[in-house]
Symmetry: C2
Subunit: 341 residues, 2 copies
Amino acid sequence: MMGQAQGARLIGLDWGTSSLRAYLFGDDGHKLSESSAPSGVMQLQRLIPPENPHIKTEKLFEAALGEVCDPWLEEAPDLPILACGMVGSTVGWKEAAYLQMPLSPSELGKGLTTVLRADGKPVHIVPGVSSPGIQGKTFPEIMRGEETQIAGILATRSKSDSVAPGPLLIGLPGTHSKWALVNEGRLVSFSTFVTGEMYALLTNYSVVARGANPPERLHQASFRQGLMSGRAQNGEAAGGLLSLIFSTRSKHVLGELKAEQQPDYLSGLLIGDELAGVQRIMTREKLALRAFSQIILSGEKSLCERYQLACDLSLWPRAKIIETAVEKGLWSVAREAGLVE
Amino acid sequence: MMGQAQGARLIGLDWGTSSLRAYLFGDDGHKLSESSAPSGVMQLQRLIPPENPHIKTEKLFEAALGEVCDPWLEEAPDLPILACGMVGSTVGWKEAAYLQMPLSPSELGKGLTTVLRADGKPVHIVPGVSSPGIQGKTFPEIMRGEETQIAGILATRSKSDSVAPGPLLIGLPGTHSKWALVNEGRLVSFSTFVTGEMYALLTNYSVVARGANPPERLHQASFRQGLMSGRAQNGEAAGGLLSLIFSTRSKHVLGELKAEQQPDYLSGLLIGDELAGVQRIMTREKLALRAFSQIILSGEKSLCERYQLACDLSLWPRAKIIETAVEKGLWSVAREAGLVE
């Protein structure tokens, strides 16, 4: 491990609900090393005894930081540290601001919140983004972490000369999937779908689909079948999502769906319902999918590939997957904030 | 407890996923006594060691039966026993048949499955009802237990001279809510919604609404707000149920919804989505709500009252709550089967 931090410029932290991932960046945001721990915000919160929440919180967050970064900080103790994600929420290390839309990613670097470690050195936290919503028209919305992914996607695109500056639809699949609209380089709106969490709840705890282990490879026919039902609001899908979900069980009990097909069928139902919702939101906003120069997907690779297939099966414009968006975003925000040159 | 079983004619068991309820009936189905235990089918299954499933299952079911019925059986060992619900499923005591629709409740009594106790005396199990579904038009559907509730509702109605014999819409709210269409005394179709299970999953385990304890009294304004959003598919509700569910959290984080209002708001969202689904199914079947002489609700009382309010707020015909439907149904099926005179 010795010598890793030589020439390092920044430590970036992607600190979410269920995990902590740390990146060591050199000149120009070149990634020198990375490290991770299952020390997500919810994991740390579960370690806190109710009788003395405040002191313990800080210690737990600092210990988790040390776990992933100490080898780097021992070599280079003055490296700036920038974190994004749920670490800036009410259940995080310190509450960071929410910025309002429309928002240019360059504004993120000017809105950092700082928390001091025991040795007095700072950890900077990227602000989230919120929207109050418009009564009867749009829901209030919040994000923490995805704004940094979006900054990374836009930084990647601005380097590429061949990319048109037209409106952009960005899908960020995950526990709480976000779909964001970017126009002229600014985030203008986004919507959240609890698709990943719903899948986890149903496969872990429900009578409907518990114990149905996901197969190693995607069962494409089952996924497609679920997706098409999830996208529809008529015919057999007339009853809506609560009825669709039950079909995962009834089709299995009546021999139409094998146990190993249930997870991908259910995944298809949920992603199909999400994509239908994105399309209705587009219609509400008087936007057409073909108006977008590109659809971008960013997140865990195999999940993005699943969404890419869903876009294809839905006859959407081809979606492009950008990995490493959060790394690019952390570097980009650090540069705007003057943490690196 | 002595003397309870004097003049008894039947033991009826409502044996579901999470609980076992036993009724002791006298002449004409008059209820003499009742008893219950948390020995639902899933509870018993969790006690079974994987290495020896078969023998244990029978013993566990028989022990649970003894727990609720032994005081009665000691006095009257030859009382007939009739059970309905998940006890007849693949994870129950013995798998009972599924009958097909259209179905008159009188046919249930002719399709009983029998399992013998250690002393050789029988327990009779009411068949469930299934529908294979029509590809692209309707989903496969299954019920176990609700068919007995429906038999009880129809038995109650046939005694009442003032009731018109027109088509009937029956809502059976619960873990898996069912909505059934009855015409000319026969069950013709039904649909299932995982509303109750979804509510339990979200309030017990989710990041979105976990820890939000239901208040003692319904928070009607929050329920109404959720219901109206859940029923809509446009405006702020354009994103569909997965987006609606997230609003339980975003509204809370942004100060629009207090923690104690979250459960009833979420309950409203889910029931609203269910009722919208029921209406779309009606439209698919070319039926109008006003074509029904009555809407009947049967199930746990406070839950039925919540659905009754939801029907009122949705401007549906006034729904009538029938309690004790499963008791009436068990007696009615036992009579058709010749277990009682």
